[in-house]
Amino acid sequence: MTANFLAVNSLFVNLDQIFVLLRNWLVGFLPAALQPAAGVLLGVIAIVSVFPGLFALTTVFERKGLGRMQNRLGPNRVGPYGLFQPIADGIKSLTKEDIVPFSANAVVHFLAPLVLVVTVFMGFAVLPMGRNMVLVDMDSGLLFFFAMGAATELSVFMAGWSSRNKYSLLGAMRAVAQMISYEVVLLLSAVSIVMITGSLSLTKIVAAQNQYTGIFPHWYIFTPWGLAGFIVFAIAATAETNRTPFDLPEGESELVAGYHTEYSGFKFALFFLGEYLAMFALSGLGATLFLGGWSAPFSFLGWVPSWIWFFSKVMCAIFIFIWMRGTLPRLRQDQLMNFAWKFVLPFTLLNLLVTALWRFMGDGWQRWVVCTAILAAAYVIMGRLQMRSQHFGRRSYRYAE
């Protein structure tokens, strides 16, 4: 019996570490001097193949999901239930003619999608995707991730300006203004996590959440400041990646296609890839910071491999992104900026204070009550203050004849 249990246990441990063992086995063929570099190279190849594969899957899920929410079927011709649609999309984007406008700045026009994709891929280097499965375990990993996020804004501007097109430039300015506003919010919501953990290293943040009291995990989302921080992070992540309801910069009915109007063929596919990869990276970061990364939701589920938990959390977040896109209307530019600076940012600063209060009140039920009360009261008060300045009239209905 014990031998069986030990065998099963070691089977699951091996399954958990299967990619690490695979990499060590492959790297073992090389001389010792080349081994670290080869290990990192294998990790890079894995990331560069897995995430674009997930991107392909997500495009078809998004179209089918949106279709179902809008009471229609999505693409269903190519392959069973339309699952091979990304292959058709890929062939289309590779064979389309690459049109560069005559008066466009050719060098900058060419470099913009490259800068976007390169900086977004760099963000994946610090995400811990499983036990011992982080590409580079940096001491200031979170700072590196945000630095890469900040660098993507420049590529958006480069794309919009180099096209010499009014719609592109307007879309780019709007996108950059929105991205820098919500970048502040994103960083501040992550600072409370750093305060409680005491480290900027993402592996340490996951390790701090990987503990269980009874069967419940110590994920930060299960604390009042963590829940508020997670909601703020989710709003900021939606705005950072220009998803509905914050997708005015690429709103098809207003701006043709915003800053990637003048891009066709493979460069447009690169922009698309960059946007979805940014969604994956931010979902991965949200899962790492608030949802415990690769740790299991209940302690008795610890036998499931850690990378399955990480990727299922990321795919849940992607599903919520798709769900929001199918449900919510678009926000206007001034509504979006008002929301960021006048509601979300003060709320995030208050959340930081509440986190400090939580830390210094020590263990006990008092801190739960006090922190929840402060956050709920602040939300209601700030919401009412914002609504009072909106001057809504009575709701009126007009029915079709």
């Binding site: 001491d139 200031s140 630095a147 900040a150 420049l154 480069m158 290293s201």
Partner: protein, 167 residues
């Protein structure tokens, strides 16, 4: 010195040179972004990871975008008549060359006096945090005050003035 250092130095200096010599303002802004990126990589080469990532986050993520917005809001896309260099450009060039000559001579003449230690310092974010709230808490608070004043000041200076409507 390693070839990586030469490559990064050439990248940074080329970016800096391009940013002061090019005619079109937005090209200058993008060239100075390349210089910032080269400098961030030089910081990483010097084992100063926190400073390097802070350089990327602040300079490329904020200052470069500020410069670009200012260029677009002040119609920088039009080239001025009379050239982009001021009529007294030769004096400026001579002064800059003189400054470089003095600095270079000072550096090369004092090579033997510069203390050299080849221990790689291992500085963690924890140490930086302790230093910030320990020994350097006064500069931290003053910089916080300065940043608040600068934010409010920049908004007020660049705000549209409310014009009185003629009745």
């Amino acid at each position: 010195m390693s070839p990586i250092f030469y490559l990064l130095a050439v990248l940074t200096l080329a970016g800096g040179l391009a940013s002061v010599l090019l005619k079109h303002l937005v090209h200058c802004a993008l060239a100075v972004t390349i210089a910032f990126a080269g400098l961030a990589l030089l910081f990483l080469q010097l084992d100063a990871q926190f400073a390097g990532f802070a350089q990327i986050l602040v300079y490329i993520g904020a200052v470069a975008i500020l410069i670009v917005f200012a260029i677009l809001l002040t119609r920088g896309s039009e080239l001025p008549k009379g050239g982009v260099f001021s009529p007294t450009w030769l004096v400026g060039l001579v002064i800059a060359a003189g400054v470089f000559a003095v600095l270079g001579w000072a550096v090369l003449a004092s090579v033997s006096a510069i203390p050299q230690s080849n221990i790689v310092p291992s500085v963690t974010v924890h140490d930086i945090g302790l230093a910030l709230v320990g020994r350097y808490v006064l500069p931290l608070e003053i910089v916080a005050l300065l940043l608040t004043a600068a934010t409010i000041g920049a908004v007020i200076v660049a705000m549209h003035e409310k014009k009185e409507r003629p009745q």
